[in-house]
Symmetry: C2
Subunit: 182 residues, 2 copies
């Protein structure tokens, strides 16, 4: 299966595409970062993240998008930007009927390094080895996006089929929303 991993952020949103199945060598199809300037209007930064996501979805046609699950225990300013960028990433995927899976940072670290407390260097080193790259992807957000994709491919072979069925069904029958006008 082909998975687009997203390490969400407004300043840097890491994106990485990995293809493969659990138990077989994996292939990296793309890695990069969408950056938005810190001094731009928030709405414009979200539009830039959306445009980046759309470009990557168009180019790589992933079967699933794996996004880092955001917690609010971190820095207040950072977590808001992360939550907002992740919302845009999930929206872009869901609009196309592509299933979205969320993984916590410790799930991702445990999947690729064996330890939920691994540091960025360890994650980068394992991503480099597992995808047979010449050097760790830079910046760390790009490596983290690849790690998310790898984590997803390894963790949930059965769950993926279920998620695809659910997302396809949801895309065919969108949620009715209500509103009234004076």
């Amino acid at each position: 299966m082909r998975v687009l991993g997203v390490d969400p952020g407004l300043t840097r949103c890491g994106l990485g595409v990995v293809e493969g199945v659990a138990g077989r060598p994996l292939t990296m199809l793309g890695v990069g970062v969408v950056r938005t300037p810190a001094d731009a209007e928030l709405g414009q930064r979200l539009v830039a993240v959306e445009q980046g996501m759309e470009r990557w979805l168009d180019e790589h046609r992933p079967e699933l998008v794996a996004v880092e699950r955001v917690f609010s225990q971190h820095n207040v300013r950072t977590v808001m930007g992360t939550a907002q960028a992740s919302a845009v990433a999930m929206l872009c995927a869901a609009r196309r009927g592509i299933p979205v899976a969320l993984h916590t940072p410790s799930e991702v670290k445990a999947a690729v390094t064996g330890s939920g407390r691994a540091d960025k260097a360890q994650v980068g080193a394992m991503v480099t080895r597992l995808l047979r790259l010449d050097a760790p992807p830079k910046p760390a957000d790009a490596a983290d996006a690849l790690a998310l994709a790898i984590c997803h491919i390894w963790r949930a072979p059965a769950q993926n089929r279920l998620q695809q069925a659910v997302a396809l069904h949801a895309a065919r029958s969108p949620i009715p929303s209500k509103g009234r006008t004076a």
Copy 2:
């Protein structure tokens, strides 16, 4: 000026459109709520919020969208949904070149009741009076959305012209975003 106020939320996203200028009687043009089911996939809920926002922007053509500024001091689960719904609301506005303004809950309460610590009932009562309605809009999220729009119209007549110029300029020259592919 015509302002769409948004009280962001995934379960209930309040929307209210108010037209007027500071110092003159205000007119309510629409009020409502976009609801998404708590048991739906997060991506699908964000798509439903986007569809609701698009419908309201199409119908009411606001000159500005005023969104409640989200803080992460509240309940962890709630604040994430609020941040995500607000991201979708800001994205929809910015994509159309409509300026987005953020106001804190206490700014809104202070603007419509005179006290930053007013309760929901007070805000509802003042919204009812200021817009000359027969009864307070229900649910509270809908009244809060109207209060946001009123707050914006009253607070920043000079600032609005600046925001419109900035948003128009940004919409004409989108932020370049980077990415590379293997």
